[in-house]
Symmetry: C2
Subunit: 347 residues, 2 copies
DNA sequence: GTGAAAGCGCTAACAA
DNA sequence: TTGTTAGCGCTTTCAC
């Protein structure tokens, strides 16, 4: 069922059918009615390849996520709500969102090259930005509209939105210092992810602001998943003297950390102060409740979508060209894990 | 940079360039070499719309996931490893996988209609099958190659792969009955998801096989997330007498259930027997350890991909046409949560 | 307000 | 072995 079939069926030219379907002004209202009715009845949907070839746009935005060891199990729970937010904006503009899954065994840069070269999407959202990220250079050079979820040391005129890692670090360190802690460890990503550097910087500055010296041995790199959190706890327990507090920069670590602490007979809040990263469905059900940071991932997705639209030439009218550089605030959710109190449930 | 530009640059015809790039036999090795070299050097990648329009295929497979309340946070951790497996197979055949995200506010059927009508993908993998699933009828009618992740009461000649819910039910019930339990509750999905029906059937049969009467009040429907698990626990606690065992059919429920039990001063394994569903990174770190079922999601993805290839006419040579109807086994992982023993950590 | 026709980038059939 | 050309489905200009 092509536009030609539809035109033949209605006994009018395919040009008129096209104009009717695309809401052009110069078409008889009666004719338009007939066309729309027939299209609906016959289930006609325009072939995207045909449209794309002609118009040079696909009306599709790609959201590239890599399924690395970091994101394989865990990342999904982060991205899904973000997608949902992105999509709620795109739908209003008849844009479709597809998740582009770069597999573990494929080079992100060459994957990107293929996707872009094929003209598969009109724009891209990239995530898991690296400190030095060749994807950014590539996209800038090819003049592909894109937005980065995450900052990078790679400079240029592009929009990015990132979580407020330094704010989290500052708030957490200051809070713990206020409770009297001096040996505050951090669990950071083991990879070259830019967020690790940003978080570390914030941590160092916050230490200084609170008059606490920096001790490199308190930095505990690990994978950003439950297993990594477990390992962080192991390394904590091995230190002499043991740090009295730990801040995590990944939401999945807390579960593993808790587990290891329990195995050692230690309780968060009583024996060691724990501040987790993002509040998640998991963390909400930990005992004792986890002190962590709240963020609306859906709203983040909405902002990402708007930044994307501002980068798309086709939407210049509705979303004026603008470079967004936004640090997304996170809000402290006070729990029982970082100070003595009345932990629930567990004896 | 189109094929025309490339041809002009090399001063040969675009037909020859096309053949060289597509590995056709009838092209001078020397010419091919020149073409490939130039294409690489100039960063030429064929425009997918042009190819698709001409060939009628897109070399892209869509994996449709709905971001419902069930999957919003939780589903990601299930799907990511599956994607990874699917992709590992597709890559060998130069197929790309895209995740098609049907938003909460969009009707899955009309979303599907749009995707299919536009000829966006050559084939589809659908998930979260409903007991009566209009998507299946639609795809069968339009003769779109597809594979369903999940069974459905909707019949027809199509491939599906599903988890072994009845096997899980049988194993869990039999195991609990062996430990002496008679009042065994189940936490099932609140929606019309087909897996709920399959699981319930298996549960009933297993009860009968173990000489236990069926009591409808032991069926506790809830959302398949942590919150749902919490609610299941609340309803358990409210029953008089309280069931002595609970089987969950969703991996995310266990965390919330544990939480509520702790709040009530009850411990899995000691005060109530708990069998979770899928072993996950979360569940692995619960205390006491959760008795649950292991599955390789990556292998599941590989099988899905192979079933998809068997449904694609273009791959008839390598993957003969075949209808796969496969129930994927899950393997019991014995933990401390379903019987008295030596629970770790918690007093 | 409508029809005719060009052409987006590509592949495949055919001609040379 | 290579060049030429038709045409995939669509939108858009240009006549009418």
């Amino acid at each position: 069922m092509s536009i030609r079939d539809l035109a033949r069926h209605l006994d009018i030219s395919i040009g008129t059918v096209s104009r009717a379907l695309n809401g052009k002004a110069d078409v008889n209202p009666e004719t338009r009615e007939r066309v729309l009715e027939a299209a609906k009845r016959l289930g006609y949907v325009p072939n995207q390849s045909g449209r794309s070839l002609r118009q040079g746009t696909t009306n599709t935005i790609g959201f590239m996520i890599e399924s690395t060891i970091e994101t394989a199990d865990a990342g999904g729970s982060f991205f899904m709500p973000v997608f949902e937010g992105v999509q709620s904006v795109f739908r209003r503009h008849h844009l479709d969102l597809v998740a582009l899954l770069c597999g573990t065994d494929e080079d992100p840069a060459s994957y990107l090259n293929r996707v872009v070269g094929r003209r598969f999407v009109d724009g891209l959202i990239i995530s898991a930005t690296m400190r030095h990220d060749p994807r950014i250079d590539f996209l800038l050079e090819r003049k592909i509209p894109f937005v980065a979820l995450g900052r990078s040391a790679t400079r240029g005129d592009y929009s990015w939105i990132d979580l407020d890692f330094e704010g989290v670090a500052a708030t957490a360190v200051t809070r713990l210092a206020g409770f009297g802690h001096r040996r505050i460890a951090i669990g950071t990503p083991a990879s070259d992810l830019n967020l690790g550097y940003v978080f570390l910087d914030g941590y160092k500055r916050a230490l200084a602001a609170n008059g606490i010296g920096f001790d490199p041995s308190l930095i505990l790199p690990a994978n950003g998943n439950e297993e990594g959190g477990y390992q962080v706890a192991c390394r904590l327990l091995a230190q002499e003297p043991m740090p009295t507090a730990i801040i995590l920069v990944n939401e999945n670590m807390a579960v593993g950390l808790y587990r290891r602490l329990y195995e050692a007979g230690l309780q968060p809040g009583r024996d060691i102060a724990v501040i987790g990263f993002r509040e998640s469905t998991q963390s909400r059900f930990l005992s004792p409740t986890l002190t962590c940071f709240r963020i609306s991932l859906r709203d983040l997705g909405i902002k990402l979508a708007e930044a994307m639209l501002s980068a798309l030439p086709a939407f210049e009218g509705q979303y004026p060209r603008e470079t967004v550089e936004l640090i997304w605030p996170m809000q402290l959710v006070s729990g029982e894990s970082d100070r003595p109190g009345s932990p629930s449930g567990l004896a």
